[in-house]
């Protein structure tokens, strides 16, 4: 009796069903995109001069945070959480700036590659420590965050260093039409190059499996420890990219961007539909969420709201949006 009723629902899906299915599965992301659109319209309404340059500033401002959110999202999807992302950004940023200052553009290419490798290594250290010691992720990454932050200050005690023009060129300005900021294109390309191959491969499955149910993953033959370390390594890589983008957009290295990025990255992934319990979500949602958060801040300053008050407002908006999302989800599950 049960078997008959439960399986009868599983008919061959038509193309329309598939479309509806995709919409349902990505409902949250679509909602975020709509919200971003409304927010852009609202910005234009309160500040009629908001145009290409505003969009460009938004993209440049959002780029490092978007990459940080991507880093956090990968780690959380794989069942961890990384509180050292801000410090890793600082360290990679100053290492890049310090080594690229007054060097040839060709040497800078080598530095960029080295910094990306550094990101992978930092992530691998985080992951290996967690797996080997079985100390909770939150403790290990918090502690290592202090280590990376200290190391960053050793490399460059004050903001300084430099970046070659080609690196700055990657981020600043627009491409073709003035409405398309380079920073946005770069973000799309970088995320696509790093994440899509992983997501499509067995390793992507490992990450989601480990985050969703470590026991079931273990029993299914997933090398759970390796999966976790890989998650942290990809996170480290994205954090290094975020650090490089900081150096590229400012032209220098700053040793203390610190905890703001870490906490904002957590906020962005929660808003972006990644479950903190692991196994659910993607990278697109968190990146859209970063743009929403950045634009919100811009809007609040356009509205001439006291900056301290606007931080409060950001927090309240974040809680409200996530709460609404949770309620929608709860209602859907109850049906």
């Amino acid at each position: 009796m049960t078997a008959a009723t439960t399986t009868a629902e599983a008919r061959k899906p038509g193309p329309l069903d598939t479309l509806a299915d995709t919409a349902r599965k990505n409902g949250w992301t679509i909602g975020l995109l709509v919200f971003l659109g409304v927010l852009l319209a609202f910005t234009r309404f309160i500040q009629p001069t908001y145009g290409p340059s505003g969009i460009q500033n938004l993209a440049i401002q959002a780029l490092p945070l978007a990459l940080a959110a991507a880093a956090q999202a990968v780690v959380v999807i794989a069942g961890g959480i990384d509180l050292s992302i801000g410090s890793m950004m600082a360290l990679t940023s100053v290492v890049a700036a310090a080594n690229m200052e007054d060097q040839s553009p060709e040497y800078a290419v080598f530095v960029v590659i080295a910094v990306l490798v550094l990101g992978l290594v930092l992530g691998a250290i985080n992951g290996t420590l967690i797996v080997a010691t079985r100390i909770p992720d939150i403790v290990v990454t918090l502690a290592m965050g202090f280590v990376w932050a200290g190391a960053a200050l050793l490399v460059l005690p004050t903001p300084g260093g430099g970046a070659p023009d080609w690196l700055k060129d990657l981020v600043l300005g627009s491409l073709g039409t003035e409405w398309l900021p380079k920073a946005l294109v770069l973000l799309a390309i970088v995320v696509a190059i790093v994440w899509l191959p992983i997501q499509r491969s067995k390793i992507g499955l490992w990450l989601y499996a480990n985050g969703s149910s470590p026991l079931a993953a273990f029993r299914s033959g997933v090398p759970v420890n390796r999966a976790k370390i890989i998650g942290y390594m990809v996170g480290g890589l994205f954090a290094a990219l975020a650090g490089l983008s900081l150096t590229a957009s400012t032209g220098i290295g700053t040793p203390v961007p610190g905890p703001t990025y870490t906490l904002l990255s957590v906020a962005a992934i929660v808003l972006g539909g990644v479950s903190l319990a692991g196994g659910r979500g993607g990278l697109f949602g968190p990146i859209v969420a970063v743009f929403i958060l950045s634009l919100l801040r811009t809007d609040l300053s356009f509205l001439r709201i006291n900056t301290n008050l606007s931080t409060v407002a950001q927090g309240i908006i974040l809680v409200a949006v996530v709460m609404v999302g949770t309620l929608v989800q709860l209602r859907r599950e109850r049906r």
Binding site: M1, T2, T7, S212, R219, R280
Partner: protein
């Protein structure tokens, strides 16, 4: 590498041992599986069965002993390696990733799709959509998917660990049929089940574990069940006999004011209208099919949930519980089926027992250690808790954990105890002890309400029984009259002799496979 019959063994484990701290989980376990046989692995709770399973599947490394597959020494350090060596397990909890769709789950274990589809139709679920996310698929179907996935990988040894427990009867039948067909081939099945009927139906031989050792290998023939039970229990072959017809002789409790009364209690859509009285000195049984409102009833009575209608009386006075603490203050304590819900798994036995009465009785001043220790020791003694693993409750067996959850209330002096399926997944000997304990508590004046999913236990533990169907009390009877058929009939709300189709099905299966199948049908009906 060969057994006495001269056939080459497919899997042979010899002298397997494993200790966790001070607790010896396995002393010297052995298991020899011939090709083409279905081999049962039996053992009461705490016999070391689950440890042996973990070792065979690569989840845990043994301290000693050797395992060979097809005569070759096997060094396995992870489930992935065990899979590659040809042993694939299927558990009661499906090893499917909840957030991935079925296709991705298959890809995760490199399972070819076509053989998977083939086995799904063999198992009676031919058209399940591969794009469904596992989280949204009913549990019973997930377990079939897990089995089909294992079969599609063509393992040398398929291990089914309580695979059929709480599976609907029609699916159980398919599973057993498929397992039965593997006999005589080149591959083998290790079959783990608490249901003797299934063992008798599909298994060739059984290896029996007791206290971490292999105590016997039995060829399955008619009547070998008795032999297996004897081996599992050791010397202590005792019947479940906590209470000999107590309900018939001692009925003094009937005169007193009810300790706990429910008047038209309702909650949400499940619990419609429940009225009953629970007297001091009485053990009142609650019988219901899955999902008839019993969960909600116990939640409301224990203060975890607020009723949407009706009222509760304690000693004749109306009460409202906003929180379990209110219920505990009113002397109503709750023992859940899931021990993990109630215990602090990483704390000691003593702390767990002392916890509630510390919060309930100690004032702001320092804890009176001496007094507390005395009470705890008394409770441990009363319950015969195995305290070898004192330091962490999670190291105890399920039965001993359940005793701890009961002991904590005994130590505080219990007035009203609500037990929700307290013997779920507990071996016979411990069950007997728990029922004896409940009976003693009642004799000392406590009022006990107990829901159990095992109908035959009602007569052993209870004085009286109420039956709930569709959120209402549909029958009330003395335990003496509540034999299994009567209870089952009442649980399906059959007042006349008219036979519902499901009932007919239940009886048909029951005739074939005994009372266990009834539980499966019950589950099927509620889905």
């Amino acid at each position: 590498m060969t057994d006495t019959n001269g056939t080459e063994l497919l899997l042979e484990a010899t002298g397997i041992s494993k200790t966790y701290g001070a607790v010896v989980a396995l002393k010297s376990a052995s298991l020899a599986v011939r090709p083409g046989e279905v081999h049962a692995l039996m053992g009461a709770n705490g016999a070391g069965k689950s440890t042996l399973v973990k070792i065979l599947t690569g989840a845990v490394r043994p301290d000693g002993g050797s395992i060979t597959m097809r005569g070759r020494e096997r060094a396995v350090h992870s489930p992935a390696e065990a899979r590659r060596s040809g042993l694939i397990p299927v558990y009661q909890e499906p090893a499917l990733i909840p957030d991935l769709d079925i296709r991705s789950n298959l890809r995760l274990t490199d399972t070819p799709i076509e053989p998977y589809r083939h086995w799904m139709s063999e198992l009676g679920l031919p058209d399940l959509n591969l794009a469904n996310v596992a989280r949204t698929v009913p549990l019973a179907s997930l377990r079939i998917i897990d089995l089909a996935r294992a079969l599609a990988a063509e393992p040398d040894v398929l291990m089914l660990d309580e695979m059929t427990a709480a599976l609907p009867a029609n699916l159980t039948e398919r599973v057993l049929e498929v397992v039965g067909r593997m006999r005589g081939g080149d591959r083998s099945v290790i079959f783990i089940s608490h249901r003797m009927i299934e063992i008798a139906a599909v298994c060739d031989r059984a290896t029996v574990l007791r206290e971490g050792e292999t105590v016997g290998i039995v060829d399955i023939t008619a009547g070998s069940e008795e032999r297996i039970v004897e081996l599992m229990l050791g010397q202590a072959v005792e019947e479940l006999s906590a209470r000999q017809e107590r309900g018939a002789t001692d009925e003094s409790w009937r005169a007193a004011t009810p300790r706990l009364s429910a008047r038209g209690l309702s909650h949400g859509t499940r619990l419609a209208d429940v009225t009953f009285d629970l007297h001091p000195g009485e053990v009142l049984g609650v019988v219901a099919l899955e999902g008839q409102g019993q969960d909600e009833l116990f939640d409301v009575l224990a203060g975890s949930d607020k009723p949407s209608g009706g009222e509760m009386l304690i000693d004749g006075k109306p009460v409202r519980f906003g929180h379990p603490a209110d219920a505990i203050r009113a002397g109503v304590v709750y023992v859940a089926a899931d021990r993990a819900e109630a215990l602090l798994m990483q704390r000691s036995v003593r702390e767990n027992i002392a916890l509630p009465f510390r919060t309930a009785f100690s004032k702001w001043g320092p804890i009176n250690i001496g007094d507390e220790r005395k009470k705890v020791t008394a409770a441990i003694g009363t319950l015969q808790i195995d305290t070898r693993a004192q330091r962490e409750v999670r190291r105890l067996s399920g039965g001993n954990q359940q005793k701890v959850t009961i002991a904590r209330w005994v130590a505080g002096g219990v007035r009203t105890m609500l037990c929700f399926d307290p013997t779920r997944g507990i071996d016979i000997r411990t069950k007997t002890q728990i029922y004896a304990l409940l009976t003693d508590l009642a004799a000392a004046g406590a009022a006990i309400l107990i829901y159990t999913s095992e109908l035959k236990e009602i007569q052993l533990a209870c004085d009286r029984v109420i039956v709930i169907f569709g959120g209402k009390v549909v029958a009330e009877m003395n335990a003496a009259d509540a034999d299994e058929p009567t209870l089952l009939r009442a649980a399906y709300n059959l007042r006349s002799d008219a036979v519902m189709p499901e009932q007919a099905a239940a009886e048909a299966v029951a005739a074939e496979s005994g009372s266990e199948a009834v539980a499966a049908v019950e589950e099927a009906m509620t889905k």
